[in-house]
Amino acid sequence: MQKYSIFNLVKNAFSNHENWDLAWKDPTPKKEYDVVIIGGGGHGLATAYYLAKEHSITNVAIIEKGWIGGGNVGRNTTIIRSNYMYDDNALFSEFGMDLWRKMSQDLNYNVMFSPRGIINLAHSDAQMNVYARRGNSMRLNGIDAVLLNREQVKEIIPMADFSENVRFPIFGGLMQPSAGTARHDAVAWGYARQADSMGVDIIQNCEVIGFDVSNGKINGVRTSRGDIKAKKIGLCVAGSTNILAEKLNMTLPIETHLLQACVSEPVKPVLDRVVTFGAGHFYISQSDKGEMVMGGDLDGYNSYAQRGNLPTLQHVLTEGVAMMPFLSKLKMLRTWGGIMDMSMDGSPIIDKTHIEGLYLNCGWCYGGFKATPASGWTFAHTIAQDRVHELNSGYSLNRFSTGHLLDEKGLGTKTWIS
């Protein structure tokens, strides 16, 4: 594989850039692999990459129904953070932050990681107290957190509504300066290119039709491009988790929901942080192209549509305008939706299953993109070693039976039902 470098850029300029290697191949599926990863999204591609890199397992196939990076890794609002209170979430996410910082070098692909900081706004004294507690927990886990008062927030984001006479006045906020954004497509392509170069087969347009399970062991998978044998299979299919679980006769603590996002027309640089509204569910950042990138609540009812309805979008943008009134002057350029694997406590699952050789990675709710490297790393470890790593030990499937829920928001089950 050609390395992406200034030297190769100049060299290829002499041949009008017509002789670059393909970033990844288009192989025909083999009859058998050591490991098959189902789902060619960010998490699946990262898992294959770390299987090859950290565990020297290269006889791996990624099978993807559509095209790689066509699901949620290309549909999110690109926010990367580790501002969690609970140890399991905080340590897992902060491990991921380290991988993010090194990712462009590691993958030889510019993922445009931009650690611009995230501010969660507070709109009451009580919320300031909650943020102080969360910030302290983060700092105890080695994560940077700064509690900002109203004046400090005003210095950073003067375009927010700081008038006194509003329904949700800004009292202050919690900032994680090391949080940020990255170019999401580049993350998928970077992992794909490196995984491919180490021998992983990326098989697109290949739908899973069923599984070959006998005596409690997985033997392989039946696909639209033929049967593929494998003693280890990893499920990394986000919004399609319930569909594949049904083929395995499993019922999971997961509901599938629709989440929308949108971007405005591009404007000159105005916002250099990620900001979240504290009195609802709304988050915003500005892309390098100048578009305001925004998202918020789920549509609220089970959906596989990858296409949303207007009332939710209207609700979300109302919150945006309450927080930053200038948004009302902007035209919306694009809106889109993706399907989320919503777990019952809001935290993910990376675990073994009751079927030997079948591994599960799902339940990412609103936060799948930022978890891409840590999820891939720990899932690869879980598959290669056939045991969970300390970092994903909290993300067990049986925590719902044992009562060890990771309900970061403290809202109980089905937090999306309001």
Partner: protein, 89 residues
Amino acid sequence: MLHIKCPHCGMRSQNEFSYGGDATVKRPELGKEVSDQDWDNFVYNRKSLRGKHWELWQHLSGCRQWIKVERDTSTHEIFNTLKATEEIS
């Protein structure tokens, strides 16, 4: 936007309703021995079907009654609605 036919009020817009999840989930019977697995299935585990799905909605900004709605989760088409007390056939 969804348009849901409330069995009490007639056709109304989605804005008047709130969602209540899978309508086929049954609470374990009182007074009987209930296994942990039964509780798990009632509280946490969901099939979350793609295609026809019976679900609960509440006509919150209307008659405030809970109703059952049969909706396709991939096309959003609504086939049928029932009162909460009516059994799904």
